[in-house]
Symmetry: C2
Subunit: 433 residues, 2 copies
């Protein structure tokens, strides 16, 4: 294509960390291809950074600015790519950009899991695009399938492994027999875990992603605090070995379902059958499983984080916005929140449970345990009792229950807590099926 005849669409980058750097490099790398793919040249005109004087190899210094107003007031900047993260000032900048008629691409899951509906409604009202493929599961195309490809479906369930740090840790525990602390240290050493790993290992990061996907799938506002989250720090190598014996793998799952009484959205460790496609998702990979009434089961697999995978998702959004800008058709695919379904408290959701406990090793104990479960409406699917060698008089009991309303199961646990023959509840892990 002759350069002078191809229009130029310019963008601003807010933030130049790992993802921002990847986006800049990828746009440069694709410079010759983008005119063919979009009908326009695409260029980064300005980059908002905190410190303009920091050395940044490969970035032309004249593109750097520490002044948001310079970007906001520049009519040549049609697209704002927010990759700074955090709620503020990202929220203010995005709102101002939309009000100024600019298109927005963001990778900011914290922000979307809190203000997704407000920002979507603002974008719709302004006739602008708000795109966020990179906010969930990195490079894996999952937002666009939920919004477009699978739009003819009633989505029944969105479920998956959406945090790479915890999947890496659990994979090491499962494959190499490491314990949690050892695997966490290895993850930190290899750069898979941050200095403060709380948001990852406690399921908060996954919870935000599930809130975003549940909103899209069920056309209902779901925010981070609606999501029940439980992390992996209490999972032991022993639990993983028992799970294997029963034919399961332990994964940190995000689960969002539409059920009769409302939406269920949870993040917790779970036993998943080793024949399930998600069971084979190892290392730091992510995968999202979607069940629709028409399409049946689908799965989307790939890298959930990292400089270039995330930049790939951002650039996919940028290209869509360029096409919409050229076609004067922005603001048409932002989704809507028309259903207002209630989100169920976790106690009201149904689940199967894996329960490992230390009990007195004497006649009648198993009968006692079973009758407590039975009286609370919990029926037993599988049970294994092993005598411990070292602690005389104590046996280890492992039970997998049938599906039961979670609060009934918790009632049973409360009763166990008051029984002298129950020495210790060692672990309670949900079972996905």
């Amino acid at each position: 294509m002759e350069e002078q005849r191809v229009p130029l669409v310019q963008a601003a980058l807010l933030g130049l960390g790992t993802v921002g750097g990847g986006v800049y490099k990828l746009i440069e790398r694709q410079a010759e291809e983008l005119p063919h793919k979009t009908g326009a040249r695409v260029a980064v005109r300005k980059i908002l950074v905190r410190d303009r004087n920091k050395e940044r190899p490969g970035i032309p210094p004249e593109k750097l600015t520490d002044d948001w107003q310079e970007i906001l007031s520049d009519p040549e900047i049609r697209i704002v790519i927010e990759v700074m993260g955090g709620i503020e000032p990202a929220r203010t900048y995005i709102e101002q950009a939309l009000r100024a008629g600019k298109q927005v691409v963001t990778a900011n899951k914290d922000l979307l899991a809190e203000y997704g509906e407000e920002l979507t409604n603002l974008a719709n009202g302004q006739g602008c695009d708000l795109m966020f493929e990179a906010a969930v599961a990195g490079g894996i195309p999952i937002i666009r399938p939920l919004k477009n490809s699978l739009v003819g479906n009633h989505i029944e369930e969105v479920m998956g492994i959406v945090n790479g740090t915890t999947n890496f840790i659990l994979s090491r525990m499962s494959q190499d027999g490491m314990d949690y602390q050892e695997a966490l240290e290895l993850a930190a050493k290899l750069g898979y875990a941050e200095a403060d790993p709380t948001a990852d290992v406690e399921g908060l990061d996954a919870g935000r992603k599930m809130a975003i996907m549940a909103s899209l799938a069920f056309h209902t506002r779901v925010v981070a605090s609606d999501v029940y989250t439980e992390g992996i720090s209490k999972i032991s190598a022993k639990d993983i070995r028992y799970a294997k014996e029963f034919g399961y793998v332990v994964k940190l799952l995000g689960i969002a379902r539409e059920t009769e009484g409302g939406i269920e959205v949870k993040v917790h460790p779970a036993l998943i059958p080793d024949s399930h496609p998600l069971a084979a998702v190892g290392d730091s990979f992510n995968a999202v499983f979607v069940r629709g009434d028409a399409v049946g089961d689908t799965m989307f697999y790939g890298r959930g984080a990292g400089e270039f995978p995330t930049a790939s998702a951002v650039l996919g959004d940028v290209v869509d916005e360029v096409r919409h800008i050229l076609g004067h058709s922005t603001g048409r695919c932002n989704g809507s929140f028309y259903k207002n379904l209630p989100v169920k408290p976790v106690g009201e959701t149904d689940c199967r449970f894996f329960l490992r406990m230390q009990v007195e090793d004497k006649p009648g104990v198993l009968a006692g345990i079973c009758s407590v479960l039975g009286n609370n409406g919990v029926s037993i699917a599988q049970v294994v009792q092993k005598k411990k060698q070292r602690t005389a008089g104590v046996a280890e009991l492992v039970i997998i229950t049938d599906s039961v309303k979670e609060r009934y199961f918790r009632d049973a646990l409360t009763i166990f807590g008051g029984m002298s023959l129950v020495r210790k509840i060692s672990s309670v892990i949900r079972v996905y099926e």
Copy 2:
């Protein structure tokens, strides 16, 4: 939404077989949701059928017509959904629809694998949409990711299991120890194989899908006849057992790669490591693996055929077109064929090979075989020799080679054919890695 204020977009359905019936039912089922999702009501106004008088439960007879002109000349029909299959008259109808300014959705892989470039160029010239998510891998969103989500990538490889019939047969052979004929008969009984299964089992169906995906991934015209195809009818239960011993699973793979000398596009049975995500894709499921320079490895998994999975893909396209019609922005995402890369003949592609042969059981034979391979530039990765009990004097030799240009390997096979100590070449299967 108040019905009178919501615009109505009307479509025509060409064909009312399994897929057409599914599309009709799915549009009906989504009638209340579509206005929220698209901003318009969507209705099927006319259905083109061969026999108007055939009983069709659930279809209002006044919608049926056997006259294409009635649809073509109706300005209320903005979208034509072609689900009749075959080259003609589908090609003519689609061309005429595009020339009349109508948007087109098609599930017709035969047509696209032959005339994809012409139809795309025509659609682009007319400012119309030509969409075909349903033509490849049924309900799995793969066309849209290749066109949009992954557009910031240089695609290096598209690879996958894109034929459900053959995957079902190979899964039964592998898991239940069936032989090929037995598994094929079971597939026919369960409706997974057609009365004449040739197009499926000989890899032609998969070849068409690979041509379509290779065109999109490499921005180059690739037609069905460019694709080297080899079917599964020669795969034996014994090959599958040997593969297992070496840590492999046998799958019918479609492989499209951009390499230095051009594009490689092939469909053939292949040994794939049992740790590869595709190895776990069983039953009649499909999965497509895409490797991009930015995103790395991604995989898309789901149902590759069937009434509602395919209808799901069609409806995703219809919804996109409705949005484009409302936004006056059709004709912007049809892709382009700007690269014109050459397609390599299969002899020039590189591959590893699994070779099973019957040889005379006497000293020096293995040395002789190895020197033929070595003289032709083929190096050996693994070898197993087993003495056959029943046939005195004959040993079975199984060799897995390193990667080699295919024609060098074939030269070695030709020489084996003239050697008296080689009694029989029992099988040659490529190895994917």
